[in-house]
C-alpha cells in the first residue's frame, strides 16, 4: 500500500515537472534563436544605424554539447545532419545571393549539412516549414557547397550561428563543440 503511495508521489512529481506550463508548450531543451546579416540588424534598425540593407536571416534551434563528443559522435561523419534541432533550420535571403557560381533567389529555404572530418557539405533546400531532416528530399536541393572547417579555440557548448561581413558579401559561421565552418555568400 505504502509502496503504491510512494509511486504515486514519484509519478505526480514527474508529471508536475513535465506539465509545469499546464497544457501549453514548455520551453524547449534546445532553444530557438535567430541571427541576421547585417549582424544585429533589428537593433540597428530601431536606432537608425542601418548602413547596408537586410540580406539574410537564420532561424535555428540550439542543441547543447552536454558532455558528448559531437562531430564523429552525435553527428556522424558522412550522414545528413539538420544543423539544429526540432523545426528544420531556416535560412531566408531578403535579396538574391550567390553561393559560388550558383544564384539563389530571395526567399525562405532549409539548411542542412553533411559533416566530415576535414570538410562539411552545406545544403540549401527548397522545402520549408518541416521538421529536422527526416523528410529531406535531395531533389529539392538548391545548392550544395563543400566548405573546409577550422578548429575553435574554445569549446562551444550550444550550436551557434552568426553572420559576418566578407569582401564580396557575407559569411555564415556555424560553430559547435571545437569545430567551425564558414559558408561564403556573395551578392
Amino acid at each position: 500500500m505504502k509502496k503504491a503511495f510512494v509511486f504515486l508521489i514519484v509519478f505526480q512529481s514527474i508529471f508536475t515537472c513535465l506539465l509545469g506550463q499546464g497544457n501549453l508548450p514548455p520551453v524547449d531543451k534546445s532553444p530557438m534563436d535567430m541571427s541576421y546579416y547585417p549582424a544585429n540588424y533589428p537593433v540597428l534598425k530601431i536606432n537608425d544605424k542601418i548602413t547596408e540593407p537586410l540580406a539574410a536571416r537564420v532561424v535555428y534551434s540550439r542543441p547543447q554539447k552536454a558532455g558528448r563528443p559531437i562531430f564523429g559522435g552525435l553527428v556522424k561523419y558522412g550522414e545528413l545532419w539538420r544543423v539544429g534541432a526540432n523545426e528544420a533550420t531556416e535560412i531566408e535571403f531578403f535579396k538574391n545571393v550567390h553561393v559560388g557560381a550558383k544564384k539563389i533567389n530571395k526567399g525562405r529555404y532549409s539548411l542542412y549539412a553533411i559533416a566530415n572530418e576535414t570538410s562539411w557539405t552545406i545544403i540549401i533546400n527548397k522545402e520549408t516549414d518541416t521538421w529536422g531532416s527526416f523528410k529531406y528530399d535531395a531533389k529539392k536541393d538548391v545548392v550544395r557547397k563543400e566548405v573546409t572547417i577550422q578548429k575553435t579555440d574554445v569549446v562551444v557548448e550550444s550550436l551557434a550561428m552568426a553572420f559576418e561581413k566578407s569582401i564580396s558579401g557575407f559569411n555564415l559561421v556555424i560553430a559547435w563543440d571545437n569545430v567551425k565552418a564558414i559558408v561564403p555568400f556573395n551578392f
Binding site: V27, E87, D129, F134, V154, A160
Partner: protein, 210 residues
C-alpha cells in the same frame, strides 16, 4: 516498508527545497527591457552567440505543422506562424512587476515578435493580407489592444506606431494556473484559429479567420 518511508521523506524534502529555491528569487535577474543585454553564464564561453535567457520559439497554425508535414506529405501549406522570445516570471508578478496597465509591451523579448501569415486572414472583420508583420500590445486590466505593425526585422523596444497596420481590442481572461514562460500558440476555431497569448494568470486570444 522502511525503505519506502525513507523514500517518501526524501521526496518531501526534495520538493520542499525546490519550493524554497523558487521563493528565494526575489530580485529578478532579468527585466522586460532587454534580456540579451544582461550577462548570461554562457557568454564567456560562446563568443559566437550566447544562449539567450529568454529563448526564442515558434508556433504554427495548424499546430505542429512541421511534424504534420512529416506524417502527411500531401498536407496543404501552413496558414500562419509566430516567432517570439519567451521571457519568464522568475518570481515576479506579471502585473505590475513586469508589465503596467496602459503601457505598450512587445509581446515577447529581444527581436520584435513576428507574425507570418502565409495566406490572407480576417481579424475582427478587417482583412489582413498575407505577409510578415510584427505584433505588440497595450495590456489593460480586462482587455488588451493587440497591434499589427509593419516594422518587421526590428527589435521589440520602442514600437514605431507610425507603422501600425491595425489595432484589435480583445478581452483578457484570468486563469487558475500561472504560466512561468510567456507562451503563444494557435488553437483551432470554427472559422480559423485563435492566437492564444498566455503569461502568469492572464490569457488573451486574437481570433483569426482564414
Amino acid at each position: 516498508m522502511r525503505i519506502s518511508s525513507v523514500l517518501f521523506v526524501c521526496l518531501l524534502l526534495l520538493s520542499c527545497s525546490d519550493k524554497k529555491k523558487e521563493n528565494k528569487v526575489t530580485t529578478p535577474v532579468v527585466n522586460k527591457e532587454d534580456s540579451s543585454a544582461k550577462p548570461t553564464p554562457e557568454k564567456s564561453i560562446n563568443s559566437y552567440s550566447p544562449i539567450d535567457i529568454s529563448p526564442m520559439d515558434m508556433s504554427y497554425f495548424p499546430a505542429d505543422y512541421p511534424k504534420l508535414k512529416m506524417s502527411t506529405p500531401s498536407i496543404k501549406p501552413a496558414m500562419a506562424r509566430v516567432v517570439y522570445s519567451r521571457p519568464h516570471l522568475q518570481g515576479r508578478q506579471l502585473f505590475n512587476d513586469v508589465l503596467k496597465y496602459g503601457e505598450a509591451w512587445r509581446l515577447g523579448a529581444n527581436e520584435a515578435t513576428e507574425l507570418d501569415l502565409y495566406t490572407d486572414a480576417t481579424i475582427q472583420g478587417k482583412k489582413i493580407k498575407e505577409g510578415r508583420y510584427i505584433l505588440y500590445c497595450i495590456p489593460d486590466r480586462d482587455k488588451w489592444t493587440i497591434v499589427l505593425n509593419s516594422n518587421i526585422d526590428s527589435w521589440g523596444l520602442h514600437p514605431n506606431s507610425l507603422k501600425d497596420i491595425a489595432q484589435f481590442t480583445v478581452p483578457a481572461a484570468m486563469t487558475s494556473n500561472a504560466i512561468e514562460y510567456f507562451t503563444m500558440i494557435f488553437q483551432p476555431t470554427a472559422t480559423g484559429a485563435d492566437l492564444l497569448m498566455a503569461w502568469d494568470n492572464v490569457e488573451v486570444r486574437l481570433p483569426l479567420s482564414f
